[in-house]
Amino acid sequence: MSALPAGVLPLDHEQNSKLQSAVSGLSPQQLQWVSGYAAGLAAASDQPGVSVSHGTAISAAHSLSDERLTVLYGSQTGNGEEIATALADQAVARGFSAAAVSLADFKPANLKRESLVTFVISTHGEGDPPDDAEIFHEFLLSKKAPKLDKLKYSVLALGDSSYVNFCQTGREFDLRLAELGAKRIAATVECDLDYEDSSAKWSEQVLASLPELLGTDQVSAAPVLRAVDAVSAFSKSNPFPAEILTNQKITGASSSKDVRHIELSLEGSGLSYEPGDSLAVVVNNPPQLVAELLSVLNLDGDNAVTVKDDDIKLADALSSRLEITAVSLGFLRAWAAVANDPQLSALLDGDDQERLTSFVDIYQIIDVVREYPAAVGATDFVAMLRPLTPRSYSISSSLTANPDEVHLTVAAVRYEAFGTEHWGAASTHLADRLDEGDTVSVFVERNKRFRLPADDVPVVMIGPGTGVAPFRAFIEERVERGASGNNWLFFGDRNFDSDFLYQLEWQRHLKQGNLQRLDVAFSRDQRQKIYVQDRIREQGAELHRWIVQGAAIYVCGDAKHMAGDVEEALLDVLTTHGGTDRDAAISRLKELRAAGRYQRDVY
């Protein structure tokens, strides 16, 4: 495209040249998206409460009425965004004005100007909101929340029923919105890991109510323009069978852990991903576990059962269709009913949430059925179980650096508990049950809340253990892009000799100037344990300088302990070296988060 003549444009010279450089080299598809994006920006700027959301699909529909559907979403993975965007798109396709907006980009005080909002909100850990909804959540539950009697709403809550406070954030939203006077248009729907059916029903219900709520006078406008990835026939509903190119143990012989570097071929899939995305892997359960479960339950694996309208053998159902490792509350209640065990009932009915949480944490299904024996038929047992869902791993490669490949960093979970061997279903599926040359079904899960910043922005990456995975991708990507921003990695694990994941690659990146700093903490190499948070504090002055200079901070890895410990360390750094008190440090961290400069991928 030739340069546009100045003067006939509503842009000044500088704006024009910026536009030219921004669009130069884009494919027709990309240009089409940009046009839709710009239209969306215009629409959004007309709308109250919506700040610009980069990379978020916004409906280009222009409504005649002021009213529209705003789908606010917050989730740690890309699922929430996917549901929200699909809903907004369908609403627009049906001729309504609608926009999907991340809660991270939504100014909470503007909620009172909205008339119709649906929420897609997930819950994490022990009932916490996702990172991108934290500020909104706090506002909504605080005294500052305004009266919302003009607002109509519905909530789709995402969660994992193996956690005690299942869908807690969704429930809180629902209760609080009602309390503030908002009117529920459809009951809150709570989704487990297999959310697709429930969320589709909820979306349909919302869409069905739109004519009444928004009026039928809205006209169809421009077709929805979305950020389109390279078209791939493969998706969650149709995963790609990826060939295993490499399955290499990358912890040393003396390690207490078995961490695998797994390379998969995406050749011919048309799948693409960006650093920060995850790869979902369709897995089978460990055959030893299936056999053991059948034996403990005294059930014949050849029994016919029905799973989602498929008539299959029990053994196959347990192997590839049903979750048989993690205990959900639903399972525990169902099992308690047949086991008729007073202890178990007391645990479930009592109010010792902490005990229940730790029980669900420690026990696998096999442990429950062994410790609280009961006679149960194949059909009844199957009915207690949740569907087996794909497991997600943060991708550890850059597609640019590794065309047609995707790499994962997987810790094989095997341990002794209750006197028997235990396995993580997915990790051992990858580590133990697949050889090079085998295939595994995969699809890409976007994580737009975990993205590299502009090339010139310094990046601080905190990723102990397999949490280092996305940062391998980050560095590879930044090298490919020739990004000028400095990179600093904090890594930690148990032992230097055996657990320094990707040691040779980091050494090379340092030598070649791709990585400016690398601070490591090996907890078990000395009497006193040292963790990444200790290194963060040690390097506080320098880290604070980086933050002042605009660095973006990324944390990936364990949510239970590490994420919180690291956050405390970051607050200490902001307090000690920023010369502020703790409250100010907390606000500062929130600002960083709101500005996309503190992103987490914790699990």
Partner: protein, 564 residues
């Protein structure tokens, strides 16, 4: 010689600010278990060798992990004399920081293996705490000074040990780098403050080895040393020493201008001249040694190239000492003596066989624990021998039974159960830690000896002492070229076999088989054992027999070893 011709190591030494380099900084780098490549040359001067576990080198590379780096640390122990309290210190360090073994070396020192970088400084500090050090145990300087450990004449022995310690002290590098880096000694701001009056700023072109010997036992292999002092005893007193120069073992496979060489005797000197002569030998080598080629840098090549007479006069001129004519002497063996020996003042010494010098607890044979127990009971001395064995020294008649009981309790009294071949065997460390190894040595020789013992037994030679030594590379740490059967590693499972050396270390062996595997070695030796058994003269040694019968070629000088 222009600077451009100097070897890389020469440049590193010159730029090292007297052996400092960036070792101290490297110790603090938490991202690698290694130190910087140039520093690995300098650390040797501090007795520290960077190594890695070669058994898992390729596995680690696939695991995207750097090699499993660790360090070998060698102590400086003149004459191999350690008090039992020093031994207890060394023993604790082996358990706490190293791989639970102590390796006795062929130079009467001890080595630790498997010390990781983060424990390195503490290990040296602990060695210092045990009143020992590792200064100049490796590197292009005078190494551990050897001295005979078994006192037949205790007063002579004591006097020679005293000279060995004085010589070691005299030739020690004077740099304060060791104390600064390892012992948190005060830093000297300007490298000018450090002066090396003997070595100069670039030290020697190559390693330098010195040893005292007291005939008739040539246990230190005096002719393999750069600088050897053969004690001449008259009327029960030390009269002086015959000086031998220019011995050395190392060569390179396939490079015939490299060769092992036995020392030449320059003449006789009085005891008070030792240090002056030694210094003159060192400074002559410092000034004339080849710094452009490390394979041609030992003193043996300087003497080979310039002649013994030139060297003698250079040393006389520098030292102001005139050599008298060499006194007569005779050697009978270059091995060790085992079991109880009584010295001239009535003290007992127990020679304990330590196969390949490895002090470790292995199954029933708990050598490390046993020596610890003995050291706790026996408040006296251990002597480390030149053949990697250990002498429990200065035992009173009344304590003999107690020592014997402990030897039995810990399953380490095997000197009497091992074959004479095994008792006269030596192997270097080689795989998995030594970076130079081309073939197995310490881990392989014992099983080869099992097979050779069977062959000797079949030939009625079960009680015949034959010296056998194996090294994993041609550098020759275990002095294989002066063993009657010398096996020098060439490739995994393959050895060059040298035969015909003298039993007392007075003659080099000749290459007999090249690149031989175990079957070929056994096939070659079996008929030779048979001939030896049937055709030997009374008291004739294996090497002498082979030569007399023309079964192997006589190597009259090192430079002729590759002749065919």
């Amino acid at each position: 010689m222009s600077n451009a011709d100097l070897t890389e190591v020469e440049i590193i030494k010159a730029n090292s600010r007297h052996l400092r380099g960036t070792i101290a900084e490297g110790l603090l780098d938490p991202l690698t278990g290694a130190i910087a490549a140039p520093d690995t040359q300098l650390s040797k001067f501090h007795g520290i060798y960077q190594q890695d576990d070669r058994d898992i080198r390729s596995e680690r590379a696939r695991q995207k992990l750097e090699p499993a780096f660790s360090f070998m640390i060698r102590a400086r122990i003149p004459g191999g004399l350690v008090t039992t309290s020093q031994w207890l210190g060394l023993d604790r360090i082996a358990t706490e920081h190293a791989n639970q073994t102590i390796r006795l070396t062929t130079r009467q020192a001890i080595q630790y293996h498997g010390v990781v970088k983060r424990n390195l400084k503490q290990t040296i500090a602990d060695i210092n705490q045990a009143t020992l050090d590792t200064i100049a145990a490796c590197g292009d300087v005078n190494r551990n000074v050897m001295s005979p450990p078994l006192p037949a004449l205790s007063s002579v022995h004591r006097e020679v040990q005293h000279y060995a310690e004085a010589l070691s002290e005299h030739l020690m590098p004077k740099s304060r780098a060791y104390h600064e880096i390892w012992l948190d000694g005060k830093k000297i701001e300007s490298s000018k403050a450090d002066v090396e009056p003997i070595y100069g700023d670039t030290y020697l072109p190559r390693k330098f080895k010195a040893a005292f010997v007291i005939p008739p036992q040539n246990d230190v292999d005096v002719f393999t040393q750069d600088f050897g002092l053969i004690t001449i005893v008259k009327d029960g007193k030390v009269a002086g020493f015959n000086v031998s120069v220019g011995g050395g073992m190392g060569m390179t496979h396939g490079e015939t201008d490299t060769f092992p060489r036995l020392g030449d005797v320059l003449g006789f000197i009085r005891p008070e001249s030792i240090n002056a002569v030694a210094e003159a030998v060192v400074t002559t080598q410092r000034d004339y040694g080849d710094r452009t080629n490390r394979k041609h840098a030992r003193l043996k090549y300087t003497i080979e190239d310039r002649g013994v007479d030139w060297f003698r006069s250079e040393v006389e001129q520098r030292s102001g000492v005139r050599f008298d004519a060499a006194a007569s002497y005779a050697f009978v063996a270059n091995g060790d003596v085992y079991g109880w020996q009584k010295d001239d003042v009535g003290a007992w010494h127990y020679g304990l066989f330590v196969e390949n010098g490895r002090v470790a607890d292995v199954g029933e044979r708990r050598l490390l624990s046993g020596l610890r127990a003995i050291a706790k009971q026996h408040n006296s001395e251990f002597r480390l021998t030149p053949n990697q064995n250990l002498i429990i020294s200065k035992v009173a008649e009344s304590d003999k039974a107690k020592i014997e009981a402990l030897l039995l309790e810990y399953g380490i009294e095997n000197s009497v159960h091992s074959s004479p071949l095994r008792l006269n065997s030596m192997a270097c460390v080689a795989f998995p830690t030594c970076g130079l190894a081309m073939a197995e040595s310490e881990r392989y020789l014992p099983s080869l000896i099992d097979k050779l013992d069977a062959s000797l037994k079949d030939n009625g030679l079960a009680d015949e002492p034959i010296t056998i030594r194996m090294t994993g590379c041609p550098n020759g740490c275990a002095r294989p070229y002066v063993a009657e059967i010398g096996l020098v590693g060439k490739a995994p499972g393959r050895y060059t076999v040298f035969l015909g050396a003298g039993f007392a270390g007075e003659r080099l062996g000749a290459p007999y088989l090249d690149n031989a595997n175990e079957a070929e070695i056994l096939d070659a030796l079996n008929p030779l054992f048979a001939s030896f058994s049937s055709g030997r003269k009374e008291g004739e040694h294996f090497g002498d027999f082979l030569l007399r019968n023309g079964l192997v070629r006589k190597v009259s000088a090192g430079r002729h070893i590759h002749d065919s």
